[in-house]
């Protein structure tokens, strides 16, 4: 049944302009970040680090945008009543929706292949590292998405859902940034700062983007997805009829 929901959700992204706009903006912005801001050529190195370094910041705004309608729209239009009275479980509906959005994000990642072609044309990059970094990007997108879906279950208003998920995602990204951590060293004990830093998307993502696929980093993103999807389940059950 999850696959039936997946198919409906996936094609619904393409029945509306949502998927096209998402993919187009994603490709344009990732190009701008890589070539203009990331100095792809000037660096003179055959890798995609300029692309992957900016990805968390790009996802910070784009993934909440694709997640915001997931449940808000169902609740606003009342289709949630139709969906939840069909012979499917909430988990099946939730997973179908999650995987559909994750597939759209994955598709947009795949469509950045010209970058990969370019770097291979210009030099001899370590393609293993690039594959690992792509995988890491997709995993991180899944974590962003799980947060976005949970926020979308909270409210009938898509704009509110978007803002909430940007804020929550921002906290997860920011918790690893130098600015925050150095500011906190003054007031908090080291243990707490390490804990905060260990929640950061950046730390886990950067390790993987360099080609090191450790169980710790993969597990981090998977656990994060599971936690936020479980939270979504609770919120949907609680809010579906309100």
């Amino acid at each position: 049944m999850t696959s039936v929901i997946f198919k409906r959700e996936f094609s619904s992204f393409f029945a509306t302009p949502v998927a096209y706009v998402f993919i187009l903006i994603f490709l344009i912005l990732s190009g701008v970040f890589t070539f203009y801001i990331g100095n792809f050529y000037e660096r003179g190195q055959a890798d995609l680090m300029p692309f992957f370094n900016f990805l968390p910041w790009l996802y910070l705004f784009l993934v909440p945008a694709i997640a915001m309608r997931t449940w808000s729209e169902e609740r606003k239009t009342g289709t949630i009543e139709l969906l939840m009275t069909l012979p499917i479980t909430t988990t099946q509906a939730l997973l179908g929706k999650f995987f559909a959005a994750w597939a759209v994000v994955g598709l947009s990642l795949l469509l950045t292949f010209p970058l990969w072609l370019t770097v291979n044309y210009l030099g001899e990059p370590d393609n293993g590292v690039i594959v690992a970094a792509y995988l890491a990007s997709w995993l991180m997108a899944g974590a962003f998405l799980a947060i976005g879906i949970c926020m979308s279950a909270f409210t009938k208003n898509q704009v509110v859902a978007f803002i909430l998920s940007v804020v929550v995602c921002f906290l997860f990204v920011l918790s690893g940034s130098e600015i925050l951590l150095s500011a906190l060293t003054e007031i908090l004990p080291v243990l707490l700062i390490d804990t905060i830093a260990s929640f950061s998307f950046l730390n886990h993502f950067e390790a993987m983007a360099k080609g090191v696929l450790s169980a710790k980093d993969i597990g981090y993103f998977i656990i994060l997805m599971l936690v936020w999807l479980s939270a979504s389940f609770v919120v949907i059950e609680h809010k579906k009829a309100v």
């Binding site: 239009t77 139709l82 009275t85």
Partner: protein
């Protein structure tokens, strides 16, 4: 067979459904009546498993709605209030999606889709997006998805609300043409609908059951049931003479040129005496006819007592 026992639903302090007991058998077409906010929709949402009861139990086809939710949902077709549907899909895509979720496959799926499309006359709009459909067509799409898997229990929340008279008629005919061994529950506040399609009327107000019998029995509760009305040509004359006729228990001035004569139950035909009086008095009469109870009045007097 549906068995509702001590069903209660509270939203914080507000009691939406209050200790409701109801048994519905195969072949029953139940008209679920009540003023807005009476608890009709809440009850239906609990029947379909969308809401969990605060207390009490619902059994459908011998299965508990909360404990065997998925199995029960397979037996039910449901049209939620306002006919929600995925607006960005075409009618064909939407019905295919529902068929898939309902587990219909291959030849059976094709055949059911075909039957339903003819039954609710959707052939012309199959490739249109649902958001571009008129209200009437949207409702038909909602009905189509509800009956697609030929359910044993059909629950329709205000199926004719907001439709024009022709569309209302079509929906009613569709309900009547469903096979006779099903359970159909229709919520409505249109009273004529109940006498038109239902063989059982259940009135609730403030979450409590006030009445549960046939629509005919509901009509008989009206003081005007079987009364004889006389409409006069021009000004109404002095009608006190009518009171003297045997069997007459009351005269109701039901309009500026109209009186209604209520007879005692033991007199099943007052017409001859009334005719005699009209003739003797030389009244100019426009019409004389027998009233069948005014459902509106019964409904109002019943539900207002509670409010």
């Amino acid at each position: 067979m549906i068995r509702i026992k001590n069903l209660t639903k509270k939203f914080d302090q507000f009691v939406a459904v209050d200790n409701l007991d109801l048994e519905i058998h195969s072949g029953d077409i139940v008209g679920f009546l009540g003023p807005n906010g009476a608890g009709k929709s809440t009850t239906m949402k609990m029947l379909t498993g969308f809401l969990q009861p605060t207390s009490g139990s619902i059994e459908i086809c011998e299965m508990d709605v909360t404990k065997q939710a998925l199995k029960v949902k397979q037996k039910i077709g449901y049209l939620p209030e306002g006919t929600p549907a995925y607006a960005d899909m075409t009618v064909a895509q939407f019905l295919h999606f529902i068929a898939q979720v309902r587990g219909l496959k291959g030849e059976l799926k094709k055949q059911r889709l075909q039957t339903v499309v003819t039954q609710v006359q959707l052939a012309d709009v199959l490739d249109k997006q649902i958001e571009n459909l008129s209200k009437g067509f949207k409702r038909r799409v909602g009905l189509a998805q509800a009956i697609l898997h030929d359910p044993e229990v059909l629950i329709l929340d205000e199926p004719t609300d907001g439709l024009d008279p022709n569309q209302k008629h079509q929906v009613r005919q569709l309900i009547q043409n469903l096979s006779k061994d099903k359970i159909v529950i229709i919520s409505t506040h249109i009273l004529e609908e109940v006498s038109a399609v239902c063989n059982r009327a259940v009135i609730i107000a403030k979450g409590k059951k006030l009445f549960d019998d046939t629509p005919q029995a509901l009509k008989q509760k009206s003081p005007l049931n079987n009364a004889i009305s006389i409409e006069f040509e021009g000004k109404k004359p002095d009608t006190s003479q009518l009171r003297l006729a045997p069997g007459v228990i009351d005269i109701i001035e039901s309009g500026p040129d109209k009186v209604s004569i209520v007879g005692h139950q033991s007199y099943d035909n007052l017409f001859p005496q009334i005719f005699d009086i009209v003739h003797l008095q030389g009244w100019h009469v426009k019409a004389i006819y027998s009233e069948t109870g005014q459902l509106d009045d019964v409904f109002r007097s019943m539900t207002e007592e509670v409010a």
